[in-house]
Amino acid sequence: MLKAAADREAANGGRRIVIGIVGVYVLLLVCCAVAAPAVAPYDPAGQRLESRFSPPFSAGHLLGTDDFGRDVLSRIIWGARPALMVGVISVGLALILGLLFGLAAALGGGAVDNSIMLLMDSVLSFPTVLLAITVVAVLGYGVAQVMLAVGVIYSPVFARIVRAETLSLKEQTFVLASRALGSSLLRTVGSHILPNMLPRLLVQASATFSLAVVIESSLSFLGLGTQPPNASWGLMLKDSRSYLLQAPWLAIYPGIAIALTVFSFNFIGDVMAEKFGVRGR
């Protein structure tokens, strides 16, 4: 009994350390994205053809230089921008669309509910990356298109949560009481239904955020997202492919950046789920 408690204590201690590390990393990431021009030591697109493939820790280049002699650290720092931007904006878009569709379905009921959810399910039934490629191929290449694509593709996930939560909340006594006391529908939704589903939405948003980062990298890797010479982690991975054996650092550092970011936001989602007592995602 005591041992189990001690184990839990130790596990909690380890978890707290991880929470700390994740916190610092995310803070660093946000700083990099916001203040990239001030933080990055070099112009991320600045070519120095005479100093190509400097290894990491060489003079002036902590993480080395790439095949154009561009500073890898500066490109990683600037690469945080499209990653976070796509994460924030596309998840925000998915959230807004999800809320609108979910509420409309739950409150409209009947045929409205059926047709909205049929649409949402059909979007969900496509493999996400494939759908994203299709959307970007139609709209044209670029970060804005990627954000739009990811936002639309992930909106059904939020719509489903919003619909389910609304359906169960609207039968709860406090909601019925608020309605009985004469609050408008809008007011009831705003002050009772939304706040009560917020935890689940936040947990989902955090998980979707990391998926959005992966999709941005994937599309940039395929040449559909961030356009050169702008820096993006996916684009850096794509460029590194030809030099895997001679200059492995070109693949390792953006790979680490993507992995850490995805892990961090998944982890934050887990922690929030635990805190809010939200089951499963």
């Binding site: 600045g46 095949d67 290449y141 040449g223 050169p228 010479p229 492919r241 054996l245």
Partner: protein, 505 residues
């Protein structure tokens, strides 16, 4: 009971399969003299007359023969034809054929096979993308089994080079008549026969024991392993699973050098890599702007970094072509001069310039990123737009919807293949120069190197001076080999492989 039967079947199957797998994975001794070759993709078809895909010709070169063929220098030498004669008016071409050649299916090769093949490629029903190269032929006569006479409607010098190219591979007349499936079951007279083709995996070729060059091919077979990823090819070469890879980057060379069992060769490709401009659009319709852009580009650096090194060229002909003329001194790298010229050109350059890059070709994308920086240094705001290959072909190359683009022009055995259409405004750079267009047309009707050279000299001079596109250079090709491989050849211009002389020690 049923489960026991199934288990028994599986056990027996394993007993049969396992030793086979073990043998297949066995050492070099069991492999015999079979070359393990890395091919960069799967051909769309193996019918040499229904595609323009290089991969098809890279495979078909070993299965089929042509009447004449290029030697290592690109000169055209006899193959299935022992000799040929051209009448003084250049309208009658007579080929004497070898009498001792058999197709893989046992048919004896005769003049009627040549006639059937040339009729097939010119037949609109075949829809050959190369049919126009044979349009000048009005009829094919076969006075006897070993003589073919081509009657031309007009003098057409490039015909000999077309007959030496992969798309003029000679097919057996009996199978053409029978509607044989040449897409997947090629039958030729070549040094190797197709044994099997597993799409996206491998193409297995075995020696043709009755090949007309006695003592050749030296190999028992060639296995073309389809490996699209360059890094995987290099890894295969280093570990010994692959004997030859023709997709080696400059950055791989150190590794191939330091491994005692691998080596490499350096040759020039037949590409002319360019920064193309849309000459019909402002400001590129202004020759001074085009000159400024050419001065702004450090061709040597771009060639070294993006294309793995090569020779700078100053006109529209690859460096090792016999028709090549050196104009590299005309617009050498000089950013100051470029800025001055741009300022004095009077052309208003107030909008961002669009640079369309074919995203599936890493070297061109890379070159484009370098050009963007070089042009930024003379004050041009260039915006990169990555496009996929089909969009590049339809929108950029055919549609002319671009300011700048980066591409490599492949060579052909005849200079007309490269130059036809330029000067008329119909080419994708929309460059107009009637003098150049007339000279190109005249050279097409003129037979013989000595007679054509002065005409092409003038064309290349005009193109060098007027800069319809920035001519950057001809890159090197590095071929990685295991040290026990010798005699591997690539055909100049055609980028096909000649395995006849290849040996494994």
């Amino acid at each position: 009971m049923r489960y026991r039967i199934i288990a028994g079947v599986i056990a027996v199957a394993l007993l049969v399969v396992l030793p086979t797998v073990a043998r297949a994975a066995g050492s070099a001794e069991t492999r015999g003299r079979v070359l393990q070759f890395a091919l960069s993709g799967s051909p769309d078809t193996l019918d040499p007359q229904k595609t323009s895909g290089t991969l098809t010709f890279q495979v078909d070169r070993s299965i089929y023969d042509t009447l004449v063929e290029p030697d290592e220098k690109g000169r055209i030498i006899p193959a299935l034809a022992e000799s040929w004669q051209i009448s003084p008016d250049n309208l009658t071409w007579t080929f004497k054929l070898r009498g001792d050649v058999r197709f893989h299916n046992g048919d004896l090769f005769t003049a009627k096979d040549v006639k059937a093949t040339l009729d097939r490629i010119r037949d609109p029903a075949t829809a050959s993308p190369k049919a126009s190269e044979f349009n000048a032929i009005s009829s094919v006569a076969t006075p006897d089994a070993n003589t073919v006479v081509l009657h031309l409607s007009e003098p057409y010098a490039p015909l000999l080079a077309s007959l030496a190219s992969g798309w003029a591979a000679i097919l057996p007349a009996s199978l053409i008549a029978a509607g044989h499936d040449f897409d997947t079951k090629p039958v030729g007279t070549g040094p190797f026969e197709l044994k099997s083709w597993v799409r996206d995996n491998r193409i297995t070729l075995v020696r043709n024991p009755h090949y007309w060059m006695s003592g050749y091919p030296k190999l028992d077979g060639v296995t073309m392993n389809i490996i699209t990823e360059h890094a995987v090819q290099i890894q295969g070469l280093l570990s010994g699973q692959i004997d030859v890879s023709y997709l080696v980057n400059k950055e791989d060379l150190d590794q191939l050098k330091s491994n005692p069992q691998t080596t490499y060769t350096t040759d020039l490709t037949s590409l002319v890599c360019v920064l193309a401009m849309n000459d019909s659009r402002a400001p590129f319709n202004n020759q001074k702007v085009r000159e400024a852009i050419s001065y702004a580009i450090d061709k040597k650096s771009a060639l070294d970094v993006a294309y793995g090194g090569g020779k700078v060229v100053g006109t529209f002909m690859d460096y090792s072509d016999p028709y090549y003329v050196d104009f590299t001194g005309l617009y050498p790298y000089n950013p100051e001069k470029a800025r001055e010229l741009l300022a004095s050109s009077g052309a208003p350059i107030d909008r961002p310039i669009d640079l369309a890059l074919p995203q599936n070709y890493d070297p061109h994308v890379k070159a484009g990123e370098i050009y963007q920086q070089m042009l930024a240094k003379i004050g041009l705001n260039v915006k990169i737009r990555l496009v996929d290959w089909s969009t590049w072909l339809s929108d950029v190359y055919k549609g002319g919807n671009y300011d700048l683009t980066v591409i490599g022009h492949t060579g052909k055995l005849d200079p007309d293949g490269r130059l036809a259409g330029y000067g008329t405004g119909k080419s994708y750079v929309h460059w107009n120069n009637s003098r150049a267009a007339d000279l190109i047309a005249e050279a097409r009707r003129t037979v013989g190197f000595a007679n054509r050279k002065p005409l092409y000299d003038q064309v290349l001079k005009i193109m060098a001076e007027e800069v319809p596109m920035v001519f950057v250079g001809t890159p090197y090709r590095y071929v990685g080999l295991r040290t026990n491989v010798s005699g591997f050849r690539m055909d100049p211009k055609l980028d096909t492989f000649d395995f006849r002389y290849t040996e494994l020690k």
